[in-house]
Symmetry: C2
Subunit: 313 residues, 2 copies
């Protein structure tokens, strides 16, 4: 029988996800709970409740938690580790609770390539996971992209996190779709909307192609096209969100490639995140001639948490 050895957890803003793992990080069972945003003052109780059955069966297991649980709104503040950061720095930078049973993973800070301060939290664990999943990422200069509400573009150098750059691409998409006149769906369409429609997919490709053809253009001067092109009968208004998505992701990829270093090898860009989203980024990267490799976000998190557990135990 496989023996449960530790608990790995991703405690983000909106959800707590826990995995009961064996020695190799294979998840045996899962548990969940409320996110850090609504957990103030209750972290200890929420965690105890979520793990009560495991405690009864296996005793209190060592635990590694990443995400907003370590932020100013979290259980305890796990300070940011400054870049360049090695794998060991992240594991060693963990902050203990109930010493040393529970460890909270730190975020990373850097001065980004636009000379601005930048921060991430949660993605450091997915990066660690990716370094474990892809041996080649440990050599030379490599590019990893973690698309999401706040997309992170990360430069690795011989396995160290050199620096990173944040683009709130997902957030911008959501608030423009929900609050702007530019890409709002007709009421009928939004009521039926359950995912990307064919029309949206075509509009996405159209936007992407036009971003490739107009290098260096500010996205500010292209957003109105979400409205003007339907008015000009180039695609239906119901597909405007697809066009918006293509403009945003295309501009994100194009702008990031302009700023980030050319990688020293022709290795694919590793994309970590939600499958639907990494697929859109893979399409956009391909439009700029870049190969990609997609990794599911939860798998990368779990691999990273397991690596941290191994290093700390």
């Amino acid at each position: 029988m496989t023996r449960a050895e530790f608990i790995a957890g991703d405690w983000g803003t909106t959800h707590l996800r826990l995995y009961l793992c064996d020695r190799d990080g294979t998840p045996l069972e899962t548990a969940s709970g409320p996110g850090a945003a609504t957990a103030a003052g209750q972290f200890t109780a929420i965690f105890a409740s979520a793990t009560a059955a495991w405690d009864a069966q296996y005793g209190k297991l060592p635990t590694v938690l990443c995400g907003m649980v370590g932020s100013t709104i979290g259980w305890i503040q796990a300070p940011y580790v400054p870049c360049p950061a090695r794998l060991e720095d992240i594991a060693e930078g963990c902050t203990p609770i109930e010493t040393p049973r529970i460890r909270i993973v730190p975020g990373l800070s850097c001065q980004n390539r636009l000379a601005a301060p930048d921060f991430l939290r949660g993605e450091e664990t997915q990066l660690l996971g990716a370094l474990n999943l892809f041996e080649r990422l440990r050599q030379g200069q490599q590019l990893v992209c973690l698309p999401g509400t706040h997309t992170k573009w990360v430069t690795l150098n011989d396995g160290r996190v050199e620096d990173f750059l944040t683009a709130p691409t997902g957030e911008l998409f959501a608030i423009l779709r929900d609050h702007s006149v530019l890409a709002r769906k007709p009421p009928a369409a939004s009521a039926q909307h359950t995912g990307a429609t064919d029309l949206e997919a075509i509009a996405f490709e159209k936007a992407l192609t036009s971003v490739v053809q107009q290098p260096g253009t500010q996205i500010l001067h292209r957003l109105f096209e979400c409205r003007s092109r339907p008015l000009n009968h180039e695609f239906p208004a119901a597909a405007a969100a697809g066009y918006l998505s293509g403009l945003l992701i295309g501009s994100d990829v194009q702008g990031a490639l302009r700023v980030l270093p050319k990688t020293s090898t022709p290795s694919p860009v590793v994309l970590i995140g939600d499958a639907q989203l990494t697929k859109l980024y893979a399409t956009a990267c391909a439009a700029f001639g870049l190969d990609t490799h997609q990794v599911a976000g939860p798998a990368a998190s779990l691999a990273g948490l397991t690596e941290i557990y191994r290093r700390l135990s």
Copy 2:
């Protein structure tokens, strides 16, 4: 005694503003009413009610109306005049109601300099007004910027509207300030907020300077600074909206100057709009070495409506 001769009106999405004017376009009295967004089916009644007192005193006067009143949500559709458009094209493109007493001013359409369809409505009248107020705008290639919810950058050539470019800069600012975690004010600050604070003004300048120093950077990759710089103690979180405004307006000016033709003369860029907003754009233009001349939006509208009345009477 000055004699009332015509009625000039700007009937936008949210407001109707009417001016009783003498022969020279000097306003003698004003009236107001609800905007086009809530006037469906009631345009005739709203207009009759707003002008009843003037009708009683002067009879039914000739009237020129611009703005959304001529759009698909308006009183009657006044189709877009394609660019390049002359002054005469706009006056001749008016659509009559109660022939020929009331004239509705058409909008303009163009293929913009990013090869996309573009549209404006209401600004054509302000452009006509500016051409009347500034004789020099009628010669050579000139640049006019009308900042607002949807900022319009207009190229004039010997007094013709050659083309224009839309940037939803004001809309993006408003929805990011109201709905994003990037520039949301602390609750206390937002309750007191009645205008630009000193801290916001300083943050605006800081953002503007950094945009000048980072030419060609996608604004997508700078928006997170509204949050990361306060986290790095570079300015207080309450000033983040000022930094956001500087990033947006700076990127709008920089991106537009990259796309638009260099004007043939060193004439100032004419800025038409709300005084607070044209002042911010003037500051941004100055940072890029451009002189500007600011004109109040209502004054430009009235001058344009008067010019159309003169041409039609």
